[in-house]
Symmetry: C2
Subunit: 183 residues, 2 copies
DNA sequence: GACATATGTATACTTTAATAAACATCAAGA
DNA sequence: TCTTGATGTTTATTAAAGTATACATATGTC
């Protein structure tokens, strides 16, 4: 969540500096206390919608532009501390590489399947799209009444609003990358 | 501000009902308490960004889509209780018809000018556009070194980042509509 | 009809967002 | 050098967001 506070911090500071305003000026224009504004600009606050609203109104800017992320990113996710879940008695392992983020709209998993490992998923909510890439080994994937056997380097895209299965029919470890895209 | 709470209320309820989830389900998926969710759906809450973030993440939707307004509006602003400010010893009166709203990005004023009334504005911040329409009477408007005499029904558009003047050079009351557009 | 389960509502409590006022810092200007 | 004023920071207090629990109301099911 602190992502959003950072955005707000960045955007507010930017506006304030562009217009050569002091914290007192902004406080007077928005009705938000100076102390709170300082906290917000430092990204150390968790403001309510009404506070953000007051800032947007006072600064004559839009609500959403205040929450816009700054242009550049440079963010590392280490697979070391990626949380994971096991299925099929530990032979099917799912690692969360990039967790879901409301700004991004998708999440990335790494899946390890021991020989013969198997996993079945019920239909997700409407509008979910799965993109599977075989990093290593081979996998057989079914969705609804469609089936496909994928080899290393293959990618399959299908909508997740139907029951689907992942299976490793080979004798070696298979590794997949799975992107779940929402809405 | 309650505009925003209404949006959130509407969108959350919509998502929850579309997916056939109970408040308990959403509470478990998002980590936000059931009581708070109920309040939010009724539009009686003023949540923090972290709460909205948790809802967005748990529901696998975007932050902004949760704050999107529903399609239809039907809202009356009465000119009776419009606040107003006087200039030029009360001969130049500004009525706020539609106050600024961060979702909309502009505001609407009605201006009444007695004969000979006059008003000068300093340059606003970059990116402000003024649209003046003469409802009744005549007005002379200057912006920077440009001048224009407007009659009933005329409209003038100019950027407000330069000093500008409004003047009623006639012997009758002049009424203007002024739209201030930001950014 | 009585029991069980699920769902939304109301209440008491804890945590924290937001305010107001005092404080520190610094740059003119006399 | 000593004010004075402007700006951002810290601190104490208040107001309210958020939680957890208990309560009310349905909707089956035996």
């Amino acid at each position: 969540m602190e992502q959003m506070s950072r955005n707000l911090a960045f955007q507010l500071k930017k506006i304030r500096q562009q217009r050569h305003l002091s914290l007192d000026d902004v406080a007077k224009a928005t009705g938000v206390s100076k102390a709170q504004l300082a906290q917000i600009e430092k990204g150390e606050a968790n403001p309510t919608v009404s506070t953000i609203w007051k800032i947007a109104a006072g600064m004559r800017t839009s609500f959403s532009s205040l929450l816009q992320p700054p242009t550049a990113h440079f963010m590392k996710y280490s697979s070391k501390d990626a949380p994971h879940v096991d299925e099929d008695e530990g032979r099917y392992r799912v690692y969360s590489i990039i967790p879901y983020n409301p700004e991004r709209g998708w999440e990335l998993y790494k899946i390890e399947m021991e020989p013969g490992a198997f996993s079945r998923s019920e239909a997700h909510t409407e509008g979910v799209e799965e993109t599977v890439t075989v990093i290593q080994g081979q996998a057989t994937i079914s969705a609804g009444d469609m089936h496909e056997k994928l080899e290393e380097g293959d990618t399959l895209v299908f909508s997740g609003h139907q029951p689907h299965e992942y299976k490793n029919t080979t004798e070696a470890l298979t590794i997949l990358h799975l992107i779940l895209q929402y809405k």
